[in-house]
């Protein structure tokens, strides 16, 4: 089984398909991907339309239960409004988790409202995914420090440090509440991450969806053709994504 832990419902999909995931799911079928963690895109660039995009993600998930796991977002700059939206997404929309893109959304990980969100995520048992690998707000060390402050919250390095900070991502992921998603580093870095990070906290993702181009072919085969042992590949692709949601 393959779970893609990093995909986006891009604006192009919404403009064309108006909340209908069937064509999106066809691409997953083409690559034998059973399900996906689905992030927005509009909600990461438009604070005013963010709740609307969170609703869209939840509605997509309702149409494809167990295939689409929605990750909502909220904007810490809104203060208490951000907290209310966070709780609404968990309690009303039943989202799987949250995605934050601090450099695109423009907030520091030291933001006091964001600290409240991180604490709540631990209490409500929903993981937080990050865009990582980018200064000045999204470096693995910054996320690692956050993980130390909030040990009950699960944090996911959504890009495993990308191309240039994957070594930092390996260090950050030594914390037991930090997971790492293979979505960005080159092939050799992927192999080294798989050697050096706990095998039960590694995920894989494609980052496809912002456009109609099918990026999965490249991203999936990049991973499959590495020297990562096949047993570990199976864990990463199919078992760990479900473990992330299991707080028992």
């Amino acid at each position: 089984m393959i779970v893609d832990c990093h995909a986006h419902w891009g604006m192009v999909w919404e403009e064309r398909d108006h909340g209908n995931p069937s064509k999106f799911l066809e691409i997953l079928d083409r690559h034998k991907i059973a399900s996906t963690y689905l992030m927005g895109f509009l909600n990461l660039i438009r604070q005013d339309l963010s709740p609307q995009d969170n609703d869209t993600l939840a509605n997509l998930a309702k149409q494809a239960p167990n295939r689409i796991f929605p990750l909502a977002t909220t904007w810490p700059q809104l203060g208490e409004g951000a907290i209310r939206e966070f709780i609404r997404c968990v309690e009303d929309l039943k989202v799987t988790g949250f995605k934050f893109h601090p450099w695109m959304q423009g907030f520091s990980l030291t933001d006091p409202t964001f600290a409240k969100i991180c604490g709540l995520a631990g209490e409500l048992q929903v993981p937080i995914f990050f865009h990582d690998g980018t200064p000045c707000y999204s470096l693995p060390e910054q996320i690692g420090a956050l993980a130390s402050r909030f040990p009950k919250t699960r944090f996911v390095l959504g890009h495993a440090g990308l191309l240039w900070t994957w070594r930092s991502a390996i260090l950050a992921a030594q914390r037991k509440n930090v997971w790492i998603c293979l979505c960005g580093p080159h092939a050799r870095a992927i192999e080294l991450i798989c050697e050096r990070v706990a095998p039960d906290r590694i995920l894989w993702g494609s980052d496809w969806g912002p456009r109609f181009t099918d990026d999965i072919e490249y991203r999936l085969n990049l991973f499959l053709k590495t020297k990562v042992p096949s047993k570990l590949q199976e864990l990463i692709l199919g078992v760990n994504p479900m473990r992330l949601l299991d707080y028992s």
């Binding site: 980018t134 191309l163 240039w164 080159h186 092939a187 181009t213 990026d215 490249y218």
Partner: protein, 255 residues
Amino acid sequence: MSDVREPSGRRVTIDGYCTIGVDREFNLTESALLEAMDRAGVDWAVIAPTDRMFAVENREANESIRAASLRHRKRFIPSCSVNPWFGTAAVAELERALGEGARVFLLHPFVQGFLANDELIFPLLDLLQTRKIPVYIHTGQPGNSTPFQVVDLAERYPSVDFIIGHCGATDFWNDAIEAGSSAANIYLDASFSRPFHFARYIESLGKKKGIMGSAAPLNDLVFEWEQIRKYLPVETHDDLFGGNLLSLLEKEGSL
């Protein structure tokens, strides 16, 4: 430009960036690189030093690359690099390496410890103005080496050809198209930029602006070539997969 083709009519293919030697986490031997090139249908490869040898021991690295290219005259294209912090010694080593036949000059600002458009490298570029050697600069490391820092250099040195390594990947992908169109003497290297993104850049900039590089062994050479052939339209292949780089290399004379 001379049109280097096999008897079959197929244009010679060139991998614009491969690293040989022992680094802390890989070891690509000459024979392994040749074997991968054969499997991928690649005729030539520009060979580059490991990270450690970008930073220090430049002469040893340049000599090692030259020796490998002499052993495989029809397969390897020698590059060279110097760390600009060595000052006048760096200029002297660059002059020596070019005299020994190096065909591409490489800079890795992140590993060598300077800003890509730092005046520290101007003496090196002053020398390169007198030659016809393209300059490949690794980019993508935030603040340290980005596409528009290379554009700045290209504007200062309009007679020097610059290759933007990795198209600014990852986070400077937004800049790739604008930077690529900013000056006539700028070219984009495909390695690490991912074929689906590189295809967009080429669609926008035209097939004369791109150069295929695999960045082996950090990437799998065979896989990268297989993928880029899938994602890029066939009518771009001759230029991207050898023609464009060959035209830059042959400004200095035939290979």
